[in-house]
């Protein structure tokens, strides 16, 4: 996972997908347009075909255990969720609305106090309707020693049908010129 340059992501994710390139070009906007990501001080490190790397620096107001100063597991969860959503979106060839089906997080160990948490997400399989994504969170450079792992599934292209049982209108696709919407929002499927 830590090698974001060489290995090709899972099947049916076009390497020449224009969407991830648009996302990469608008990297700043990806975080800026997501209030919670901005509140956490999240930074987008890189975007590739079906891949996203983002990080959150340690901060005192994000601590979950006041005895130790360890960052809250909820922060790691949000970072992983956000990264998985971006990876799913970066696997598409054109913008579509996405909805998180489920998210599973394993916490292997507490993160080091003061360390920046980095999440590396990969969409390893994209079908016509579902994106399967996995991610790892690290507090250092050791790829064999992750803090947490995530597995997520996203429904893709829910926008067309979402109006059927939803009160609020849903934007099915962002204009290509605009940064794509954050894709972690759950929705009716």
């Amino acid at each position: 996972m830590s090698d974001s340059s060489s290995s090709s992501p899972g099947g049916r994710i076009p390497r020449d997908a224009p969407l991830w390139q648009t996302m990469a070009a608008n990297a700043g906007m990806m975080i800026q347009g997501t209030p919670q990501a901005q509140a956490l001080g999240m930074r987008l490190v890189s975007i590739g075909p079906g891949r996203a790397v983002a990080e959150v620096p340690w901060r005192e107001d994000l601590v979950g255990d006041p005895e130790t100063g360890v960052i809250a597991s909820g922060v790691v969860t949000t970072l992983l969720d956000n990264s998985c959503g971006m990876a799913a979106f970066a696997a598409l060839s054109q913008p579509a609305s996405t909805a998180t089906l489920d998210l599973r997080i394993d916490y292997m160990r507490p993160a080091k106090v003061g360390a920046t948490i980095r999440a590396e997400a990969e969409c390893y399989r994209l079908t016509r309707t579902v994106a399967f994504v996995r991610a790892f969170a690290f507090d250092g450079d050791d790829a064999a020693d992750p803090v947490a792992a995530a597995q997520a599934a996203f429904m893709m292209g829910t926008g067309r049908r979402a109006g059927q049982n939803r009160k609020a209108p849903v934007t099915s696709a962002a204009p290509a010129a605009d940064p794509p919407p954050a894709s972690e929002a759950p929705g009716d499927v």
Partner: protein, 158 residues
């Protein structure tokens, strides 16, 4: 199967409040807890910073997950501090916060920009592991926006 969350308990709500007032991340989210008898409801008042998708708009899925996780932790803490509970400390509030092992979240509908509530049920509270289910809702308790199922490492005094 034992159901510790429905066992007779007498817990001072201020103990819970004191515990979570000390957790910076709970304040970051703006979360609070209401306790009626042994029934705990977590409240997450809406604020703009909790938005994950401004186009819908919708709460960040991570925020909903984190809120449910903290609800589970609070429920475990309550059960551990229940009067007469096995291993309950003489001075409530001296237990350490349970540590999350894993959580699995189902997203059922998008979180609207309104207040969110959650309640947890301890399926099993063992000596080392707690098995917990949580539901989060907004307008309608019977129509949850997300559910969580998780395992937590229960820690004794230390």
């Amino acid at each position: 199967m034992s159901e510790p969350s429905t066992a007779p308990v007498r817990v001072d709500a201020s103990v819970l409040r004191t515990l979570f007032d000390r957790v910076p991340y709970a304040r970051f989210l703006g979360m609070s807890f209401e306790l009626k008898g042994d029934e705990l409801t977590a409240v997450l008042p809406f604020k703009h910073e909790l938005i994950g998708n401004p186009m819908l708009p919708a709460l960040h899925g991570g925020v909903v997950a984190a809120m449910m996780e903290l609800t589970a932790v609070a429920q475990i803490f309550l059960a551990q501090n229940a009067q007469g509970a096995p291993g309950a400390p003489e001075a409530p509030g001296t237990l350490r916060v349970p540590k999350t092992i894993d959580v699995s979240i189902d997203y059922l509908r998008s979180g609207r920009p309104v207040d969110t509530y959650a309640r947890a049920h301890l399926t099993k509270l063992g000596r080392r592991i707690a098995n917990v289910r949580v539901e989060a809702w907004q307008y309608d308790r019977a129509d949850p926006i997300a559910t969580l199922h998780g395992h937590f490492l229960v820690q004794g005094e230390g």
